[in-house]
Assembly symmetry: C2
Homo-oligomer: 95 residues x 2
């Protein structure tokens, strides 16, 4: 299993617009065969900070997700609404 | 539920020492009543980068964890083995 943490910061006042763009992409992503979980989180203390925490079956599942239409089209849309592209880490469980 | 992502970078050559220090703390933490999950992750591409991904019942559970002996003693030990203290985000689920 691969766990992805993808963190980004919304531009001021753009949180609602981001959620509107993201929701259909989340629905489509959860239908992918290798997607175990895919949840958008919001920082409790700094509500402009968001993180996707994602669990994928394997690297092939991640690769397929990154080739999906819903993934390829969301990035440019979000980049107009956030400070910078996501900071992305791919993790394996250790303990 | 509160999800915590706590990320840190090991000093060069200190990964094994960190894992040795952390393991008993993880065992003790998982026994806390408000701990839903508590997993140490390692970055697949940059193995010196680690992240705890934690799920807690509520803020009271987080507060109790931070007052525990195993939490209060691990920080100084780890600070001798990592580049800087953890970057910590407390998240709520949005979508």
């Amino acid at each position: 299993m691969i766990t992805i943490v993808a963190q980004f910061t919304a531009l001021p006042g753009k949180t609602e617009a981001i959620l509107k763009e993201i929701e259909p992409m989340i629905t489509a992503t959860r239908r992918e065969s290798g997607c175990i979980s895919y949840v958008l989180h919001q920082d409790i203390k700094n509500p402009d900070n968001f993180a996707f925490i994602e669990q994928w079956k394997d690297q092939a599942s991640v690769d397929a997700h990154m080739q999906s239409d819903h993934f390829k089209t969301i990035g440019p849309k979000l980049n107009a609404l956030r400070v910078a592209p996501s900071t992305v880490h791919l993790y394996k469980e250790v303990i």
